[in-house]
């Protein structure tokens, strides 16, 4: 650490905040991460570990994901936790013919840009994953898709950041943001003031509230995802699974009605099946609901009938940071100097966390990135630029 380096303060001890802290610490910068509860106490500790490539829209979203995937492979070696990164391959399961038609188009668009995606009929799908329902219309398969243990990933990033001299401070709540001459100077917390030359808002679903403290409005809304966990068992599911409903809707507006009804499934390294997930706007309420649990169980058991022999041991819910265009907010905010956003990944937070840490570190230390960040500019939504003053 060099004294005259800028002091970078990151708000949020989730997978995004810890990844930025780690990538900054790797380059010997002065970093402090502030988390109000425990590490991974929010959405990063209450989500599945899917790292899907084929669900991303060809273009900037997909190239970001591909870069992330590359970084995952090296992170698995670097981090002091077993992050259980496994490139299992992923299936996007298709439940009816309308979806099949939409996915046909989507897959060919992906194939055109060179992504390894294959459209499978029912028999081919069952050949890959024999316990799936024979009533499925098919699936798309990509060998690139992977899974990871999101909690271990977050904790591993935090421990590695700390090893590289980043300060990780938990159980400390941010109370306000200090500014002078339209420039961030520090934050007020329950453990006193922290001076900051640069402030990074990586507060996930809470990022909107943190931005509010600086008088900036950010359109990040909490979207609840409920997940059910089965007991641990021998391997029954090789691939990671999501349903085509959600993707197909993007290509065929007639299918949009069911877009929110998609499911996800994976079997963790420990043997538990994670069954998800709802997508609900319910404020900051992380309670599980009876209807949510029943919806997940009915839908997933329809796709993987062997689930009937399983038991649910736990449910949980996390708040995904939703943005109106489905893309995260990465980069500076024009209305306040030295205030950066790194939030709003919704369901892609885990998958995009390595690349987010990588490019945010580049942006903060070098002022430029390999990937053009314009589509992710937080200013794309900013309507109001309220004046800021020293608090």
């Amino acid at each position: 650490m060099i004294r005259n380096q800028p002091h970078i303060v990151i708000i949020g001890g989730g997978v995004i905040g810890t990844s930025i802290a780690y990538h900054l610490a790797l380059q010997n910068s002065r970093v402090t991460l502030i988390e109000q509860k425990d590490l991974a106490a929010g959405s990063s500790g209450a989500c599945d570990g899917l790292v899907f490539m084929q669900s991303k829209k060809p273009g900037i979203h997909l190239s970001l994901a591909m870069k992330s995937l590359e970084r995952f492979i090296s992170l698995a070696e670097e981090l002091p936790f077993d992050i259980e990164f496994r490139q299992t391959g992923g299936l996007v399961v298709i439940e009816n013919n309308a979806e099949y038609k939409a996915m046909e188009k989507f897959a060919s668009a992906q194939q055109e840009i060179g992504l390894d995606v294959r459209l499978l009929d029912t028999a081919q799908t069952l050949a890959r994953e024999p316990l799936l329902s024979p009533h499925l219309a098919g699936a798309t398969f990509s060998p690139l898709d992977a899974r990871v243990n999101p909690i271990h990933l977050t904790l591993g990033l935090a421990l590695a950041a700390r090893k590289n001299h980043a300060r990780i401070i938990t159980h400390t709540r941010v109370l306000g943001i200090h500014t002078r001459n339209n420039r961030v100077t520090g934050i007020a917390t329950t453990r006193g003031r922290f001076d900051a030359d640069i402030l990074v808002n990586a507060a996930g679903a809470m990022a909107g509230r943190v931005a509010d403290m600086a008088g900036i409005s950010m359109p990040i809304r909490p979207r609840r995802g409920q997940i059910a966990v089965t007991h641990a068992d021998r391997p029954v599911l090789e691939h990671c699974l999501i349903s085509a409903k959600y993707i197909a809707a993007k290509f065929d507006p007639a299918l949009a009605r069911d877009a929110g009804q998609g499911i996800s499934m994976e079997q963790t390294e420990n043997g538990n099946l994670l069954l998800g997930s709802t997508r609900e706007f319910a404020g900051f309420d992380t309670a599980n609901t009876l209807s949510g649990i029943k919806q997940i169980i009915r839908h997933t058991a329809g796709i993987l009938p062997v689930l009937e022999q399983y038991q649910i041991i736990r449910t949980f819910a996390g708040l995904r940071p939703f943005t109106p265009d489905g893309l995260p907010l990465l980069g500076p905010v024009s209305s306040l100097s030295n205030f950066f956003m790194a939030a709003g990944h919704e369901g892609d937070g885990i998958a995009l966390s390595p690349v987010t840490g990588l490019i945010m570190a580049d942006l903060l230390l070098k002022g430029k990135t390999d990937i053009c960040l314009d589509p992710f500019s937080p200013d794309r939504f900013t309507r109001n630029t309220a004046g800021t003053a020293d608090v």
Binding site: D38, I151, T170, H171, T230, N270, N288, I293, Q311, I313
Partner: protein
């Protein structure tokens, strides 16, 4: 037939639940009592059928609450306004007290789920045991004192011909005397406490003389049968090839540190252990009720109102009440009083109390029960201090000891993670996976809480509030897929 709505739903048919039902019965309410067991009466009134010795009959004769419990069951069993739903368990309490209830129809079947809404919900889910882990406590044949008691009381089955009884629990004496009654052999009683630890009871003896008599009768029975009593000893290891064969016990000092050189190996066919009790607060926590920490009442308990007459024992959530061991480990008499009081308070809130002169009697009954409740708390404090293991005992747990039995997490892993800064219950769960298995931390949770408290010396609130998510207990997916059909009940 089970209806989709009851004005009162009581979870647990133990003494507290029965007492609440007694207060509420006959007042034009419809009451549903849900219990996971086949029998009504909870752990205290578990089938004491059949032949038992005169000595044991005398011992239980000293227990007036038990007698009262028997009367309650006889009185309420056929009450028209009470419906009993046994072999059923509430897997979740959702918004507006919508209950997801899992019902077992047939052994070896996944059962089915029904949904019931409760006007008012009384939690009377009692307590479970607390344990101090040691290497080998996962061996088959090492079982809880409660498990041993169920075998003996409900089934007349000995856990083994020769049983070692160990821990710091008041249940030890009860299990030992039941073993004698059942003509089993006691390899010894390994008692964390010494006789001088009992002195705390003496000032309470005036108000709690039945317990004194009961305790005296137990001790006399043990002396008569020449049971070896190792006071101030602790099990430091259980060993055996495929199942428990012998235990190494050792003396500890006042602070709870094992004294080297005092080890004795005791062979036995089974080892029954327990270190006091933990309230079963999970249903309340899952529902969203607030908990508070009270070391001398058994740790995390349900926070309830104890002052306003119209909302006695109401939790932080309106229309959800908690009584008995949930408000602090304090035994059957306290549970009875709280159940009765809670029921009367609900009657007062519903304006179903008697008018005129009778009203005075109603008020007087409530006032007297409130006095008795306070008096019972003194005994509760003694009970919990008596069964509490010293903090130092957690420092003594060797690294290879399994702490989380479900996920196979050792003390060594927990120490390492605490050292890395994962020093709250929640952080430890994420970093070490402890409490993530089938039991969802209901066995290891209290242990881990005590371990973290002992190792970090942090305040209970910083170590972490208890958490619980639906389902409470594992839930067969098939049971959720069977369409709800209320008519198939009964």
């Amino acid at each position: 037939m089970i209806r989709p709505y009851y004005s009162i739903v009581i979870l647990g048919s133990g003494i507290a639940g029965l007492a609440a039902a007694k207060s509420l019965s006959g007042k034009g309410l419809d009451i549903l009592v849900i219990d996971e067991n086949t029998h009504i009466g909870g752990q205290l009134l578990r089938g004491t059928t059949g032949y038992i010795s005169l000595a044991a009959a005398m011992v239980s004769g000293f227990d007036p609450v038990k007698t009262r419990g028997v009367q309650l069951i006889r009185h309420l069993k056929n009450a028209r306004d009470i419906h009993w739903l046994n072999r059923a368990r509430v897997a979740g309490i959702f918004k507006d007290r919508q209950l997801l209830v899992h019902v077992d129809d047939m052994p070896g079947q996944p059962g089915r789920c029904i949904e019931i809404r409760a006007g008012k919900l009384i939690l009377a889910t009692g307590a479970r045991e607390r344990y101090l882990p040691f290497p080998g406590w996962t061996l088959p044949g090492v079982l809880s004192l409660g498990a041993a008691q169920i075998l003996l009381k409900s089934h007349g089955t000995l856990p083994a011909r020769n049983v070692l009884v160990a821990g710091s629990s008041p249940l030890m004496a009860a299990v030992a005397s039941q073993l004698i009654t059942g003509q089993g052999n006691i390899a010894g009683i390994v008692d964390e406490n010494t006789l001088s630890d009992m002195r705390g009871f003496l000032p309470l003896a005036v108000h709690h003389w039945p317990k004194l008599l009961q305790g005296g009768a137990y001790i006399a029975l043990l002396i008569l049968n020449r049971v070896r009593h190792f006071r101030g000893f602790r099990v430091v290891e259980a060993s055996g090839k495929e199942q428990f064969e012998s235990a190494v016990i050792a003396r500890h000092d006042r602070k709870g540190r094992i004294m080297p050189g005092t080890e004795i190996r005791v062979p036995a066919g089974a080892l029954a252990i327990g270190h006091g009790f933990v309230p079963n607060i999970e249903p309340g926590i899952q529902a969203g009720c607030r908990a508070e920490y009270h070391r001398d009442l058994g740790g995390w308990i349900m926070a309830v109102n104890t002052t306003q007459d119209h909302t006695l024992f109401e939790t932080s959530l309106k229309n959800i009440y908690a009584v008995g061991e949930l408000t602090g480990i304090g035994g059957a008499h306290r549970s009875y009083i709280q159940g009765r009081l809670c029921g009367l308070s609900i009657l007062a809130a519903l304006e179903k109390y008697p008018r005129g002169r009778q009203h005075q009697r109603f008020r007087a009954a409530m006032a007297s029960l409130k006095r008795e409740n306070r008096c019972q708390n003194e005994y509760a404090f003694f009970l919990n201090r008596f069964s509490r293991v010293p903090d130092m005992a957690y420092d003594q747990i060797p690294d290879p000891t399994l702490i989380c039995r479900c996920e196979n997490i050792t003390m060594g892993t927990i120490r390492k993670r605490i050292g890395q800064g994962f020093d709250t219950a929640a952080a430890l769960k994420k970093a070490a996976r402890c409490g993530m298995g089938r039991c969802q931390g209901r066995i290891c949770g209290p242990v881990i809480f005590d371990v973290v408290s002992a190792l970090t010396r942090a305040e209970p609130e910083s170590v972490g509030f208890p958490t619980s998510r639906a389902p409470i207990g594992n839930l067969a997916i098939r049971s959720l897929l069977i369409p709800p059909d209320h008519t198939r009940n009964k």
